[in-house]
């Protein structure tokens, strides 16, 4: 409760134009409310002199909380926090009655005045019951990001973050990335540059690369996460301010029994002349069922090395775009044949392997191959990542970001971000854009160097808690947990103050600062004119 009394500051400009609120009337109305120790009209609170005048008034009066009767708080909240702290009060020790937007602008004459009085009354009743939250301060945020992923996407995110002067820990599940990236590059040097950046990654001082690592434990608040990695059996701790998950599928040319594609010399040595390259799982959605640059480049390398070799590429579509189109034309000139297939071809026998399928134009086709190579997709291990960081996965098995439009890359867990591989869009430049936007979200969080924690957050009264786990289940941010005492505790740093747990708690053991049950009830009574 308020011991020093409540201050009510009325901004003259809050009256609006037509109809004009009688601000003096509001003044006298406010001074009549029990518990209000100071009432003052200030000309344009948001102006410099206005602020000075208000701060002086607060300091002079010994009130420990105040109500601002003015325009909408939407743009002014930071200003009022500043006024509060400069007057020696808690930054949240105030309430705003938006009499202009919620009365003057939307109601007629006397009704507007009565609504304004109600709004003032509601604000006073609410701030009267204001209780100082546990702490509302800045937590230092480490300027270091852990990026988890083996492929180019992780690399792109890392580059973007390092470009802003932060350091990166690149955590790779494997050794060197297997296979090749699934992307379609717009030209040769873009591909070369991308592959080169992978190779040189370890040389950059601002990035440490940790290979063959899996995440054992993940603790701590956003801005100061503590990871424990299992690096080839050894436990390696890692502290970072934010985490970006960038799992990326890889592609690899393999024989049917899984061994990597042989080089031209081997083929000649083994006298294998007719080679067919088929996207594996042509019909499955995951793997790309189109002819990727890898297949074409490999075929060109074979033909260059051993002219006698006959290579055919099969696939649902060719995705011929600028650079790819050039490659294909070159390949065709060199006698490499392209077959368009729809659905799964029939593959029988071994040396020679016979592939039969139905071509929409040419009818039933038959092709013999001395060696069949499959362009296989190596799907990344997303489930274990999601489990380690407690973030949800969608029905297709991809990391779920809260809102792909408004807040791309943000997951339910504050401080944990997810760069998502788009199956439908394989262009390298698009991937780089996505990686950049996700990196930007992480940077935005860490850029201030500090993070606000506490304030309007939930807190558990351990006496009343029946440990029914309801709050753990309903909280979208998994902020509550069961503490040592066997009762629920809310992790301040994870709580976003939505109040879902408070509404659900069967024992009324949780309440939230700045929007407590008693405050809501007091406001309703004031709004309904029950408070005389």
């Amino acid at each position: 409760m308020s011991d020093g009394g409540i201050g009510v500051f009325i901004c003259s400009w809050g009256s609006g134009k037509d109809p004009k609120l009688d601000m003096d009337g509001l003044l006298s109305f406010a001074s009549g409310i029990e518990g209000v120790a100071l009432v003052k009209m200030i000309d344009r609170i948001c102006s410099k002199p206005g602020q000075k005048e208000m701060i002086a008034a607060i300091k002079g009066s010994g009130t420990d909380r105040f109500v601002v009767v003015a325009c909408s708080a939407r743009t002014k909240r930071k200003l009022y926090r500043h006024i509060a702290t400069s007057s020696g009060l808690h930054p949240l020790a105030f309430e705003v009655a938006s009499v202009r937007e919620q009365a003057a602008f939307v109601h007629e004459g006397p009704e507007a005045q009565r609504k304004a009085e109600t709004l003032v009354r509601m604000a006073v009743e609410k701030v009267r019951l204001w209780v100082e939250p546990p702490f509302e301060e800045e937590m230092p945020a480490l300027r270091n990001v852990a990026v988890l992923g083996d492929g180019l996407m992780a690399m792109a995110v890392a580059n973007e973050i390092m470009a802003q002067g932060l350091t990166v820990d690149l955590v790779m599940s494997g050794g060197s990335p297997k296979g090749s990236p699934p992307y379609i590059f717009s030209n040769q040097d873009e591909m070369d540059r991308a592959l080169r950046s992978m190779a040189e990654a370890s040389s950059d001082p601002r990035m440490t690369t940790i290979k063959n690592a899996s995440v054992l434990d993940f603790q701590g608040p956003p801005g100061d996460f503590g990871l424990v990695l299992d690096v080839a059996g050894e436990m390696v701790p890692l502290r970072c301010g934010a985490v970006v998950l960038a799992p990326e599928p890889r592609m690899e040319l393999r024989t049917i029994d899984g061994s990597p594609a042989p080089s031209a010399q081997e083929l000649i040595a083994r006298g294998l002349r007719r080679i067919v390259i088929l996207p594996s799982g042509a019909s499955s959605g995951i793997g790309c069922s189109c002819m990727t640059p890898r297949g074409t480049l490999y075929a060109l390398s074979l033909v260059d090395a051993a002219p006698g070799i006959e290579v055919s590429l099969m696939g649902r579509e060719a995705r011929a775009m600028d650079w790819m189109e050039g490659l294909q034309r070159l390949a065709q000139e060199k006698g490499i044949r392209f077959f368009r297939i729809d659905g799964e071809p029939k593959v029988e026998g071994h040396a020679p392997t016979v592939i039969t399928w139905r071509d929409p134009l040419l009818g039933d086709m038959r092709l013999q191959a001395d060696l069949l190579l499959l362009d296989t997709v190596l799907t990344p291990e997303v489930q274990s990542l999601a489990k380690a960081f407690d973030v949800p996965v969608d029905e297709k098995g991809e990391l779920l970001s809260i809102d792909s439009r408004l807040r791309p890359g943000e997951t339910v867990r504050k401080g944990v971000f997810a760069a998502r591989f788009r199956v439908g869009n394989m262009l390298y430049e698009d991937m780089a854009l996505e990686a950049g936007s996700v990196a930007a979200r992480a940077l935005e969080m860490l850029s201030m160097g500090t993070l606000e924690v506490g304030g309007a957050v939930a807190e558990v009264d351990q006496e009343k808690c029946s440990a029914c786990l309801g709050c753990l289940r309903v909280c979208p941010y998994s902020a509550p947990m069961i503490g040592q005492a066997g009762k629920a505790e809310v992790r301040m740093e994870l709580c976003q103050g939505c109040g879902a747990c408070v509404a659900l708690c069967p024992s009324r053991a949780i309440d939230i600062y700045c929007f407590s049950d008693s405050q809501i009830v007091a406001q309703s009574r004031a709004a309904l004119g029950k408070v005389r």
Binding site: S72, R74, S98, R100, E101, Q102, A103, F105, V106, H107, E108, E111, A112, R114, K115, T118, L119, M122, I402, D403, L406, V412, A456, V474, P476, Q496, G497, C498, G499, A500, V502, A503, L504, I512, F515, D517, I520, V521, Q523, S524, R525, A527, L528, G529, K530
Partner: protein
């Protein structure tokens, strides 16, 4: 004078309210708005207590489904409204006096719409009998 109490999420609906003010979109003064961090913050006891305090109609205003900043706060809110409606029917006040609306930050006109809708319901149902008794 009719009394309609609205519990509004401060994010989407909160912005819409300010925008409605900016654009001078008038709505009946009977509607009084209380801002809460999220529609999921309000529980059944708050809704019922409002009726005992004399509200003729109560509204819970949340963000559009799928657009909730707190992931599914609006869905939590709807569950509480459904439970409270059931109780109001059993009690005899009628669940019609309570409703949930979804308003995005760029839909200021919805505030006037929901006020009109609830006002017409109160006209049809009559004032809150408890308030009349006082």
């Amino acid at each position: 004078m009719m009394r309609i109490l609205a519990f509004c999420c401060e994010r989407g609906p909160g912005e819409a309210i300010d925008l409605a003010g900016e654009k001078r979109m008038r709505y009946p003064a009977d509607l009084t708005l209380i801002q809460v961090p999220c529609a999921g913050r309000v529980d059944v006891a708050h809704l019922l207590k409002a009726f005992r305090e004399g509200a003729d109609a109560v509204v819970l205003v949340g963000c559009l489904e799928g657009n909730c900043h707190h992931i599914y706060g609006n869905i939590e809110g709807r569950k509480k409204v459904d439970r409270a409606k059931q109780i109001l029917d059993e009690v005899g006040l009628g669940g019609q006096r309570l409703e949930m609306f979804h308003v995005a930050s760029n839909q200021p006109f919805r505030i006037a719409e929901l006020a009109a809708e609830m006002a017409s319901r109160v006209e049809r149902l009559g004032p809150n009998p408890l308030a009349v008794k006082e």
